[in-house]
Symmetry: C2
Subunit: 266 residues, 2 copies
């Protein structure tokens, strides 16, 4: 790894890193931008499902990051620049001082994936989760508590948004992801491999604590507010976390933490 020193924010070699914030929502055709040391660590780890394409960092971070950077493949350029040049490239003050350009993993074939899961395993199905914080939180909880994969429907935001990756502390880069499935397709796919679909709902349904964890389950999580549709609720087993009096609801990421802990750790 030989760092390439930059002196200008207009250097064409780092065009992919330019104006990161404005371009966060436009997509990059199979690529993503990630930021920070924790995430770079995951991206270059044995767990990563993604390839790094390039890294851009503040000069002053280089020494400390050498162990991580040395794990990059030899052809991955590492650009360094003074903090102010970096800020000029990114379009805002990049206090973490590290950006990486990565390739999203190839789409996962749900059948091939589900056929090879362990006998006991839990899937997460995210439906209409449009908030990047919540999406990142769900991935972090899935990875920390040991869910085997995440399914998302077309109503979800892209988990590869910079913010979702950051909130997930890199979990998005290592967790098997099946995208573009409707909630009902998730249920059908999962059931074909013996996963019991569980629908988290603030309404009726048995208390989570009364649920003996099935060997295989799919945890369906809807957006706060609308929740899961009646069609999905009718096709899955409803489960509820009782709330204290006078309080409306848990955040959806917090809900995922409680449910995954119950299903996987108990």
């Amino acid at each position: 790894m030989t760092p390439i020193s930059l002196t200008s924010a207009d250097d064409p070699r780092i065009a992919a890193f330019r104006d990161v914030r404005e371009r966060d929502l436009t997509g990059r055709e199979g690529l993503f931008i990630a930021e920070g040391e924790v995430v770079l660590n995951v991206l270059t780890s044995a767990w990563s499902r993604c390839r790094a394409r390039a890294v851009l960092l503040a000069d002053k971070r280089l020494a400390k990051l050498e162990p991580v950077l040395s794990r990059l493949e030899a052809d991955v350029p590492v650009y360094t620049a003074p903090q102010e040049v970096l800020d000029g490239i990114a379009g805002f003050h990049l206090h973490r001082g590290i950006l990486a350009l990565g390739e999203k993993p190839a789409p996962l074939d749900a059948d091939a994936f589900l056929a090879t899961r362990p006998e006991r395993s839990v899937l997460v199905g995210a439906v209409g989760i449009g908030n990047a914080d919540n999406m990142g939180g769900i991935f972090r909880n899935a990875a920390a508590l040991g869910a085997c994969g995440v399914m998302i429907d077309p109503g979800c935001c892209d988990p590869f948004y910079r913010k979702a990756i950051r909130v997930s502390v890199g979990a998005v880069l290592r967790t098997p992801l099946m995208a573009g499935l409707s909630a009902l397709t998730m249920v059908e796919q999962a059931e074909a491999y013996g996963y019991v679909p569980l629908a988290l709902t603030p309404g009726d349904g048995p208390d989570l604590l009364e649920l003996e964890p099935p060997a295989r389950s799919l945890v369906l999580l809807g957006a706060e507010g609308p929740g899961l549709s009646p069609e999905v609720l009718a096709r899955a087993r409803p489960v509820r976390i009782p709330m204290a009096s006078g309080f409306d609801s848990l955040n959806v990421a917090a809900t995922s933490a409680i449910v995954l802990h119950h299903l996987i750790r108990r």
Copy 2:
């Protein structure tokens, strides 16, 4: 409730709402700014520990909010303005269209409070939680799952930051708060009333699931990264949520959700 219509962002009557974002971190001597309908709902509810001083909202929101606004005391002014004037006052685009100025509750006397808790109750002790998202998440989980109160040490951010209140969906405004206690003082105070201090740690310690919930417990949560100090860990019962292989840790708010669910709902 007779709304007062504003035409200028410079109107002296709404000076407290001016440049909200810049002033978020400077404090307002016992006052706070809250935003959004959900939070206004809590502020004006029977559960609120805080008094509203004034409300400022976009003209177009008035009709829908009348039921909530009618719960305000008669002397609380409700200012309305076109969205662009509102944005000029706040200093950014206020897409929620609602700001409230409120009074923080009087400091709670920990002894008087703890002496009157139910026989079974759980306290949260936040230590060095500097991130407003995490602080808001902890309060939301505490309220949703039924913790009786939150203690915070001087290393925590102010739970009455606009962002923390928003993330808490108003839980900050209704949850009994004891501030300015060191972690060791929290332990001493709580133990005096029979609360078992539990220290969440990613390191050694028995699995949370092996812990038979005590009738009364204090859940101590440290910041991600530094965690709780060795002195605090030595004075409390360590408890751990095991992580899946290769993954570092849960977010502290997610941790609070799992622990409170175990202690209160089981």
